[in-house]
């Protein structure tokens, strides 16, 4: 199809012709090309392992946050049952923040899973193409004169080269995304380290920097709503929650 061929394919073609220019001897070009392909396959494996590592880290954080959400909810109920509304509010603010983080983490884990699947499928495809190239390479070496071989190498190498370049782009995108998630995970860890999601009974309400930051970070409306709901539950004696039972025991 004359006239077709996008920017990316132009870049890829340029790379391949540079690769072909590097060696005068077609046999050498073929071996070099094959060697590069095998290296690329190793890189892909490493890239997939990186994605898996990033995903595991996020999943671990997500699990921890889930526990904290439950804990903070319980503590808010306890505080309210004891008539300590400011403390209940603090717990709910923290819970809201933890929930927001949790949602983001879960979305990111799903994205990473998609990427992992895609990269694995691509790796499989590239492996097949490389195998095909290896077979062709030996045929070309055995059957053609240097001049003829050069033409045929061009064809075969372009096909594999494009596959490699494309996988390279996919890897780059996956790496960029993993990098963003690492930054995100780091931010959550910092919040954790600062004690943001810790046991609120260890602190008085509104006493520290964390709480001031929390007020800025969390949606006041959501906290108000939840507080109101909890109060209503408490008043109607909806004591099916263990936290409330505890509260009743300790008026």
């Amino acid at each position: 199809m004359p006239g077709l061929g996008g920017r990316m394919s132009t870049v890829i073609k340029a790379k391949i012709s540079r690769m072909l220019d590097r060696a005068e001897d077609p046999g050498e070009t073929l071996d070099y090309g094959y060697q590069k392909q095998v290296e690329m396959l190793q890189n892909v494996k490493k890239g997939i392992a990186d994605v898996v590592t990033a995903k595991k880290r996020l999943q671990m954080q997500s699990g921890k946050l889930e526990q904290q959400v439950v804990k903070l909810d319980t503590q808010a109920r306890q505080a309210l049952a004891q008539g300590n509304e400011p403390l209940a509010r603090t717990a709910l603010e923290r819970k809201t923040l933890a929930q927001t983080e949790l949602q983001t983490l879960d979305t990111q884990v799903k994205e990473l899973e998609g990427q992992q699947e895609q990269l694995t499928a691509n790796e499989q495809k590239l492996r097949q193409k490389i195998e095909q190239f290896r077979t062709k390479k030996e045929v070309i070496k055995a059957q053609y004169s240097a001049a003829e071989a050069q033409v045929r190498i061009g064809e075969a190498a372009s096909g594999v080269g494009e596959e490699m370049a494309d996988l390279g782009l996919a890897m780059q995108r996956a790496e960029d995304k993993t990098e963003q998630m690492r930054a995100r995970a780091g931010a959550v860890e910092e919040l954790e380290a600062a004690g943001t999601f810790d046991d609120i009974t260890q602190l008085g309400p509104g006493e520290d920097d964390i709480d001031r930051q929390l007020k800025e970070l969390t949606s006041g409306a959501q906290v108000d709503d939840e507080l109101a709901k909890m109060k209503a539950e408490l008043e109607t004696g909806g004591g099916d929650s263990p936290a409330l039972e505890q509260g009743k025991e300790n008026p």
């Binding site: 006239g3 077709l4 061929g5 394919s9 495809k125 062709k136 064809e155 494009e162």
Partner: protein, 92 residues
Amino acid sequence: MIVRISGEGQFRLPDEDAGRLNELDNRAVKAVEQGDETGFRELWSQMLELVASDGNALADDELVESDVILPPRDVTFQEAKGEFTGDGLIPD
């Protein structure tokens, strides 16, 4: 003609589709130039649909070069600004 969706693989399409693809490509360039993300998204999904409806996936052991390379399916508008410029993916 052979079309690659970056990150997915290659598809064989009837040569007659080149004109349609080129037209969508040119319109996508315009949308990007005008900062019209909604318009771009619409055209981009039409391009993907064309490949999905008319294309047959190439076997994994086929070693052929693509005539057209489309960006990844989930291309961001920001990335599209780098790809859909000038003559677009398919030079006229």
